[in-house]
């Protein structure tokens, strides 16, 4: 899990990480990370799923997503945070599942299970 922006509000990603850990996932949190950090971590840690907390402009998230997809085309990605409805459509077009504020934790955990089983 990574935050794409340089904004350190941590409520969202920590709650999601806790729910995922409670469900048996091992979660690697790399905090505020730029595109290179995210790709490096996704490759080196051989992760099964990438979770992005998006707090800023959607183009920053898109750059990270496209870079991860180039490095590991099969790797599923999901995203949460303050993503506007219009930006959510842009992410969905890239095959990224979006969980905006107000999403249920059970839905996020179910998505993580589904996305990691699919491979």
């Amino acid at each position: 899990m990574a935050k794409t922006g340089l904004d350190g509000h941590w409520r969202g990603p920590t709650i999601v990480a806790r729910a995922l850990r409670d469900a048996g996932f091992e979660v690697i949190m790399i905090g505020m990370a730029n595109t290179d950090d995210i790709v490096t971590s996704a490759v080196d840690e051989d992760v099964d799923l990438v979770g992005l907390n998006v707090g800023g402009h959607i183009d920053v998230a898109i750059r990270a997503i496209e870079s991860v997809q180039r490095a590991r085309p099969e790797l599923p990605i999901f995203a949460g945070g303050t993503i506007t409805p219009r930006a959510a459509k842009q992410l969905e077009a890239l095959g990224v599942e979006v969980y905006p504020p107000g999403s249920q934790l059970t839905d996020i955990v179910d998505a993580a299970k589904r996305l990691t089983d699919k491979k």
Binding site: G8, I15, Q104, L105
Partner: protein, 543 residues
């Protein structure tokens, strides 16, 4: 709505068990005797002055800013034209909070984010553009500098521009923030100075304002940032006063500022007003009570002008929902109402689009209109402390203060406020509450309209996020290059050297910071000095 069982215990957000009604016998004895005092009198919980909002309406004070300094300037003028009675200059978080210039690799990597949360101000030239034509002498300006390491720069830049425009600093009103709860608890940055140098910065600002800017509120502790991170209302109170005693004890240790004046300087604080608005009103009342008690008992200060806590309040951003955003106009109104019932002196209402983005022009205008309707149409300003004497409100006020002191003591037992930030103890408490709040929604114990119930939305209005302008990064880059090329290089280098020397010694850094502003030293250069001299805070949370 489901019918609820009536024999199930009900608790306030602070974990205080609520009765289904109250009588005079419920008010704790100790509080009953004090409760009848008039507003403006000991124990001060009833408000700042007997005439309350009749003589002084609360200040309409909205967070504002995005894009280039001129975009922010335009938005602030829009708000002032619409009736805002103070103004807040937000700085871009990417650059400001980290003390980076826009050419820092971490900023370049996120260039589209630049300007999304405030204007980019890297030198006094940018600040001058942002302040152009603003009524800095007749209004109440907030220079920005919410994050501790950024505050000396933000303040000095604002003061330097004011001085260049011919304003007398000795009469300049305004505030910054330099808030520990934001910096080290709610919104940590990638790189920031540790808490001890942070405390030193804030004490330096308090000293400098005492000498040169007596009308400026030098620091403003924000319970808001603790509460919106998850702390409950009683904890928000406890943490705020635990923070205040760190400042006052440090000032006392230095012995350079009269303690009563320092207490007045620290007595302009901010709280969150959340949706359980009666408890929130009680929280503001409890805060005033606690501040007066704290000053008297710990420091022997009884001057009424100082013992009267001054409160700015912001409605809870995290209570604004992404779903059915127009409902947030109602939420903003109710949260504002709680703040006003609590007698706050200053108020900001979050935009209805808060869960999506920074406020659009229309959302911003609505936030001002909500406050104007309360002030002008409801008659709420006619009588001070309208809830005073209510069995329930007086009981809850006293119970909140008691519970908050317990949390304050817990913090002292952990080694004090700074220790609880450094160890992550406070973060763990906040995280526990966050998770509980989430689970309450998840299992339906807490219904949130449009989010986990009544989810059909037939609104004909589409609300999408406001994304500001798209040229903030490019313009900031050009302006940075321009200032580095055209400033007096020798003066800049020498000012920066002096600042570094003062950072390394125990000299107050503010005089050197003022010199650095005049010499057009940039934010990133100052940040490099901090990183070199103070190193990086070891963030106790994983995110």
């Amino acid at each position: 709505m489901q019918k609820k069982s009536t024999d199930k215990a009900v608790f306030s957000r602070s974990g205080i068990e609520l009765k289904s009604f109250y009588t005079g016998d419920d008010i704790p004895d100790e509080h009953r005797d004090r409760a009848a005092a008039a507003p403006g009198e000991t124990p001060y919980h009833r408000g700042f002055h007997p005439s309350g909002y009749r003589s002084k309406p609360w200040r309409i004070f909205q967070l504002s800013g995005f894009g280039k300094p001129e975009d922010e300037n335009e938005r602030i003028k829009f708000l002032l034209k619409n009736g805002e009675t103070g103004f807040i200059m937000e700085h871009d978080r990417n650059t400001a909070d980290h003390c980076y210039n826009v050419d820092h690799p971490e900023v370049v990597a996120r260039r589209e984010d630049v300007g999304l949360t405030g204007a980019v101000m890297q030198s006094v030239r940018d600040t001058a553009i942002c302040m152009d034509g603003l009524p800095v002498d007749s209004s109440f300006g907030h220079a920005g500098g919410a994050v501790v390491q950024h505050a000396p720069f933000a303040l000095a830049a604002y003061w330097t521009v004011a001085k260049q425009r011919g304003f007398n600093l000795a009469k300049l009103p305004g505030t910054g923030q330099s808030d520990f709860n934001l910096t080290y608890l709610g919104c940590v940055t990638k790189e920031q100075i540790p808490t001890l140098p942070g405390l030193r910065f804030n004490a330096d600002i308090i000293e400098f304002c005492d000498r040169y800017l007596p009308y400026w509120v030098p620091v403003s502790i924000a319970g808001y940032n603790a509460a919106d991170t998850g702390l409950s209302p009683d904890q928000e109170l406890g943490v705020l006063f635990a923070n205040a005693v760190e400042y006052l004890d440090e000032i006392k240790r230095r012995g350079s500022v009269d303690l009563t004046k320092a207490a007045k300087a620290c007595g302009g604080v901010s709280f969150r007003a959340s949706i359980e608005f009666i408890e929130e009103a009680c929280k503001m009342r409890a805060a005033r009570l606690m501040w007066a008690d704290l000053l008297r008992e710990r420091y022997g200060i009884t001057d009424p002008k100082v013992a009267n806590l001054r409160i700015h309040c912001v409605t809870a951003g995290s209570k604004m929902t992404y779903q059915q955003p127009l409902n947030n106009i109602v939420r903003g109104t109710l949260m504002a109402l709680g703040a006003v019932f609590g007698g706050v002196q200053s108020l900001g209402v979050s935009g209805y689009d808060e869960a999506l983005s920074i406020p659009s022009e229309h959302a911003h205008q609505m936030s001002v209109r909500i406050q104007q309707i309360l002030q002008e149409e409801t008659g709420i300003a006619n009588v001070t402390d309208p809830l005073g004497g209510s069995y329930y409100v007086e009981t809850l006020t006293a119970q909140l203060a008691e519970k908050a002191w317990e949390f304050f003591e817990e913090i002292q037992n952990q080694g004090g406020y700074l220790a609880t930030l450094d160890s992550g103890w406070l973060h763990a408490r906040a995280a526990e509450n966050q998770y509980q709040e989430f689970m309450d929604m998840e299992n339906g114990d807490q219904q949130v309209i449009g989010v986990n119930c009544f989810q059909d939305d037939e609104s004909p209005f589409e609300v999408d996020g406001f994304m500001g302008t798209d040229d903030a990064f490019d313009v900031a880059t050009a302006r940075l290059n321009d200032v580095l090329r055209t400033r007096h290089e020798k003066a800049a280098a020498s000012a920066l050297k002096q600042l570094e020397a003062d950072c390394r010694s125990d000299t107050n850094i503010m005089p050197a910071m003022m010199e650095a502003m005049s010499a057009e030293v940039t934010l990133g250069e100052i940040g490099n000095v901090y990183r070199e001299v103070f190193g990086n805070w070891n963030t106790p949370i994983q995110m």
